[in-house]
């Protein structure tokens, strides 16, 4: 499963495309402009996972 999202690079403002599930599994994403490597910190992983799980529950309830 993938959920593609984007964020601006904190260094050069280029748009970095990343997969939310990939972040959760520890994947790194590289900025196409300045080659900076972006990843999520370990302490924030459970927070993001919890929010995604609850959002998926909401989607299921909505009958998506």
């Amino acid at each position: 499963m993938t959920r593609i999202n984007t964020m601006p690079c904190p260094n050069c403002n280029q748009i970095i495309t990343y997969d939310v599930y990939g972040l959760l599994t520890g994947l790194h994403f590289t900025c196409p402009g300045c080659a900076a490597v972006i990843s999520i910190s370990k302490e924030s992983q459970p927070v993001l996972k919890n929010a995604i799980d609850k959002y998926e529950e909401l989607e299921k309830k909505a009958g998506k």
């Binding site: 964020m7 904190p10 972006i38 927070v47 993001l48």
Partner: protein
């Protein structure tokens, strides 16, 4: 003394006696409208509960700590609101299929009985109104012994509201790294 026993009760439509056709058609549509409203309010509540910390009505965003390693090896941190990670879209009812067979139970016609003044015996119809009473038949087959309505609802994602888009845009444009 009037012996009529008046009780406070809810109106329970009896399908066997027939209902007005308008009521049969509008009831599922009203239900769909309510479902749509619930989806939107449910998502708004989710955003408030999961993506913000509330304290006496003042909400501040829950943030996710990100690491950024530059090309030269410098390691920095920056924070992004949790809201920007979730693929939040407004869910709304897109398509509704309501399928049911209607068995016509009764029709009423109101015909004016005003006669012409030129000694003609035939009644003159000025206005004719019809009321149709119906009951629900089977949604899938011609068998009218089982009644039912088949309602199929498809939800679609509509664009985010301007408020949420503005919040996400505001945070996205203000990412600042720190070496911590």
């Amino acid at each position: 003394m009037d012996n009529t026993n008046i009780t406070d009760s809810h109106f329970l439509p009896s399908l066997s006696t027939g209902q007005s056709l308008e009521a049969l058609i509008t009831a599922p549509l009203t239900a769909v409208s309510k479902a749509n409203s619930m989806m939107l309010s449910g998502q708004a509540q989710f955003i408030l509960d999961q993506c913000f910390k509330g304290n006496n009505g003042v909400y501040s965003p829950i943030t996710i700590k990100m690491e950024c390693v530059e090309k030269n090896g410098t390691k920095n941190f920056f924070y992004l609101p949790l809201l920007t990670f979730l693929p939040i879209n407004n869910l709304a009812v897109n398509k509704v299929n309501i399928k049911f067979n209607v068995e016509v139970m009764s029709t009423e016609s109101h015909i004016s009985t005003v006669r012409k003044t030129d000694n003609q015996a035939k009644p003159r119809i000025i206005k004719k109104k019809a009321k149709i009473g119906a009951k629900i038949g089977s949604a899938d087959s011609a068998d009218s012994s089982s009644r039912g309505i088949a309602v199929s609802i498809k939800a679609k994602q509509i664009p985010l509201t301007k408020g949420i888009t503005t919040i996400i845009d505001m945070y996205s444009k203000n990412i600042v790294t720190s070496s911590e």
